[in-house]
């Protein structure tokens, strides 16, 4: 346990702690641009240099380990001068349009420039003059703003293993690109947006659809019906100074109404519906003895990943649409018919923690209602901007209830937003429907939490049911490679697998508030489990509105109408497309 001294403050740390971490523990903030707590140090920016007594050169605090007796200084006169100069070098190559930039106020470069009192630039300014790539449904890539920290490449290549982007070029011309002058939209990018939430500046950001939504709301002829994903309700508050994990769903309903949205539903309703459909699908496979595994299908980032890298496992993916898409097709049929609003006048809006949902809504097959099932998807961040623009003091709202028909939800639905939530929800229902008895313990702790791969074994009518939960696409790749190999050898390692593209589950999605570290995601997830434990009914099959839907409209899970509106198919994709 080395003892070190940083800026005159003594501190003892665990062996292997870096100077950066030690300083943080001692309450000293060493500036960084490329380091993120979730990513191994890259050493690219040079902003974290510190001075160590007895060493002739400065060292990078992010990679140098604290050693016994080190006397460290983080901001000598010399260091301050050097860092200010280094910042100027970066700023001189960065576009000067903070005021129009989507990350204005939330940008790490801006924060450092402010911290270091950069008042003028001695260097001549220049920009790359590159076209902005808006080809991907969920993500915009603006390489004029890229500072070259390398976080997105590390995330896409190693944490997600989508490998859609890599460094391209050399020296000051280096950018991040899918290929030579090609765009992300036509490549293997799955729109998971993890690159977006780790980007320190506005080089990668969500493709905004707020303009369309304002237009729809402000058009008196159109009826806007919105749905809100589970993960949004424990995160949106962060945009207004509230704590991560704090449940703000009633405020969200209220804010949406104040914005002028006509009908407010809840994606948690269709999460319960998904469980009914998928549970039935699973139980059918159980009776038929396969094919196993059945893999969940609510994460569109995962779906595109699966279509691209594991096309031979497509028949293992549940044919159920995601809750977003189920809701979308019901809004333009069931809701439209029930309330007598012509579907062409309905604008189906969804509020999601996810950038890939924009891709999902745009998938050509997602029009089973006869119209585009989901017209627009707004990320949590976009909604926050609209709320601010409308002058609403979100944290002071009293909150209202949502509109009935497609809103009621169980505890099982709300935990969809956390990794393991879909699995737990599915088992709560599948077990009871199959055995006629409820699970002994409704809280399936084995599939909860931030561990990257979680497995559990449940005895269902004497048969052993093996389930697995993974989050983060690198873990999905590892698990599926294993499953595929086992399949070739004629073995079935798991019967049911939940895959979420983002670590932590949807609470860590590409559309969530930018402070999106794993620590933060865990807090949000816990907020969902807390909501679950306090709800009047906790199993999807107990949802009265779901029961009503089947009774009056769909007939039964897996029935013809269900198949038409609530199920989909997938497409094999080329892993080498550009």
């Amino acid at each position: 346990m080395p003892n070190v001294n940083i800026d005159g403050r003594p501190i003892e740390v665990e062996t292997g702690t870096t100077i950066l971490e030690a300083a943080d523990k001692a309450g000293i903030d060493i500036p960084t641009l490329c380091k993120h707590e979730d990513i191994a140090p890259l050493g690219t920016c040079g902003m974290c240099m510190v001075e160590i007594d007895g060493k002739p050169d400065y060292v990078r605090a992010c990679i140098t380990q604290a050693q016994e007796g080190m006397q460290i200084r983080t901001h000598t006169r010399e260091l301050r001068r050097i860092k200010r100069n280094l910042l100027q070098l970066v700023l001189a190559a960065h576009p000067d349009d903070c005021l129009q930039c989507i990350r204005h106020g939330e940008c790490e470069l801006q924060k450092l420039a402010e911290k270091f009192e950069i008042r003028d630039l001695e260097y001549d300014q220049y920009t790359r003059g590159l076209p902005i790539d808006s080809s991907a449904a969920g993500i915009v890539r603006d390489m004029n703003k890229c500072i070259g920290c390398g976080r997105c490449v590390e995330v896409c290549q190693n944490l997600q293993t989508v490998k859609a982007i890599s460094f391209f070029g050399r020296g000051a011309d280096t950018i991040v690109s899918p290929g030579a002058e090609t765009n992300m939209g036509s490549g293997v990018c799955v729109n998971c947006g993890q690159c977006v939430v780790y980007c320190p500046v506005g080089a990668l950001h969500e493709r905004e659809q707020t303009d369309h939504v304002w237009e729809a709301i402000e058009n008196p002829e159109l009826h806007v019906a919105a749905q809100i994903a589970p993960a949004v309700r424990v995160a949106l508050g962060e945009e207004f100074g509230m704590a991560p994990g704090e449940l703000v769903i009633d405020k969200i309903y209220h804010a949406l109404k104040m914005l002028g949205i006509d009908t407010v539903f809840d994606t948690n309703f269709s999460a319960d519906l998904t469980i009914m459909e998928e549970g039935t699908e699973f139980l059918n496979r159980l009776s038929a003895g396969g094919p196993f595994p059945l893999i969940t299908s609510c994460s569109p980032g995962w779906i595109k990943f699966g279509e691209t890298y594991f096309p031979d496992l497509i028949e293992n993916i549940s044919s159920c649409k995601s809750p977003q898409q189920m809701m979308g097709s019901l809004i333009k049929t069931y809701f439209s018919e029930t309330r007598g609003i012509p579907p062409e006048k309905i604008v189906s809006l969804s509020i999601m923690p996810c950038t890939a949902k924009k891709f999902e809504a745009d998938r050509p097959e997602m029009n089973d209602s006869g119209f585009k099932d989901v017209d627009y998807v707004l990320t949590t961040r976009e909604l926050a901007r609209m709320i601010r623009q409308a002058g609403i003091s979100f944290d002071k709202l009293d909150g209202v209830t949502s509109d009935s028909l497609l809103s009621a939800y169980s505890g099982a639905a709300t935990i969809f937003g956390a990794t393991g939530g879909v699995m737990e929800a599915a088992l709560r229902t599948a077990y009871e429907l199959h055995t006629g008895k409820p699970l002994e313990n409704i809280n399936l702790k084995a599939v909860r939490g931030m561990e990257e791969t979680k497995t559990a074994s449940i005895s269902i009518d004497g048969e052993e049911l093996r389930v697995a939960v993974v989050h983060g696409l690198s873990n999905a790749r590892e698990l599926l490679s294993y499953v595929y190999n086992e399949q070739q050898a004629g073995r079935v390692p798991y019967h049911f697998i939940e895959i979420m593209a983002c670590r932590g589950g949807c609470v860590g999605g590409g559309g969530q508030p930018i402070e999106n570290s794993l620590y933060q995601r865990n807090l949000r997830g816990q907020g969902l489990y807390k909501e679950d434990s306090g709800l009047p009914f906790r199993k999807s099959h107990e949802n009265p509105e779901v029961a009503a839907l089947y009774e009056h409209y769909l007939e039964k899970p897996g029935g013809e109408r269900s198949h038409h509106l609530l199920h989909t198919h997938y497409t094999r994709r080329d892993a080498y497309t550009l």
Binding site: M49, L89, V90, Y126, G148, R170, G171, D173
Partner: protein, 417 residues
Amino acid sequence: MKQNKVSLTHYAMKKQDIEAYIGLGGYHGLKAALDMDRSEVVKEVQDSKLRGRGGAGFPTGKKWAGVPPSEETYVVCNADEGEPGTFKDRYIMENTPFLLLEGMTIAGYAVGAKKGFIYIRGEYPTIAETLKKALEAARSQNMLGNNILGSGFSFDIEIKRGGGSYVVGDETALLSSLMGKRGFPWMKPPYPTEKGLWDRPTVVNNVETLSYVPLILAHGAAAFSKIGVEGSTGPKLYSVSGHVNSPGVYEFPMGVSVKDLIEAAGGVQGQLKAVQIGGTAGPIYDAESLSMQLDYDAMQTAGGTLGSGAVVVMNSKTNMAGVLDVSMRFFAEESCGQCFPCRYGTRQLNYMAQRIAAGTGRQSYLQLMQDTGEVMQATSFCPFGQSVSTPLNSLLQHFGDEVKGFIQQQDYVKEVI
């Protein structure tokens, strides 16, 4: 010079003939080494005090001694010679390739490697072919491959071509490139001898360094170390170019004076104005440099570095603002772009030097360039960025008035590319 057998030029041949090489005394070193324990071979090289000839001057024996025992160790020859002004490795590979192969094989034996790579820059395609043929010849004589000379030691060498990047001459950037990646340097520690290629112990040595190894083993450490000066032993191949009458590779004992070297190269064409020593990251001196001694320690004491031993001579017709421009442009083009100080710093330095040379510079550039160099020295990830301030500061120190003149008079109008 040619009578002294501890000499690379002694083995120079127009045509690569392994039998002629053996006739001149070639492969005696390997035979001697195979008769010794590996640790004895390492000790011999340590005792010779041979220092790396690529530029860093790290004691070769010390590097080898630091290699832990391992099932899979590699020897890599850095033949990426990209340092401007340097062409000694080309000379060795074109004229005495067997010295290199023999040296690598001895190195492999000493550190317990079974496989070696020669990473040769992409711009030397014909030399790569020459080396391939030399490898075949060595294998046919059982000097390479399985069970070398019946000793039980097996070692083979593969040629790896580069693709056009100066920075991969840096040890860890080279290993990145060899593994098929972009040529980004790594964080050290861990050092390549501990964790190099595919995380295995790897020794990276320059062409010239490896080429001396057979001579050390054949003639003994003492014969090697009595050549040159204390702290920089053995002969050295100096690359002399620019405004001299006979530019070329010259072999001298370490520590020859700049004056003697230039004389050997036929003397200056015209009047001596400036000398850059050590390569593009070396200082640019004025005529005072004539008395300097070309060895590691003397050059360091003089505030510079011997580097690759390149000496570029500039006469009075040389436009120093143009030299600054060419210098800074080199760094900007070759920066790998991994770290901020270098990727942004080299570009700004390039812009400023370019504008000065084109007559559109500003007075403020001079101080700003030096400040930038200082920031890069303090914060760059690897020696490439850290060293830009050396040629920059020395040029401004010795020729600052001329450069200022460009800015003030703005009478230098020549199309700058």
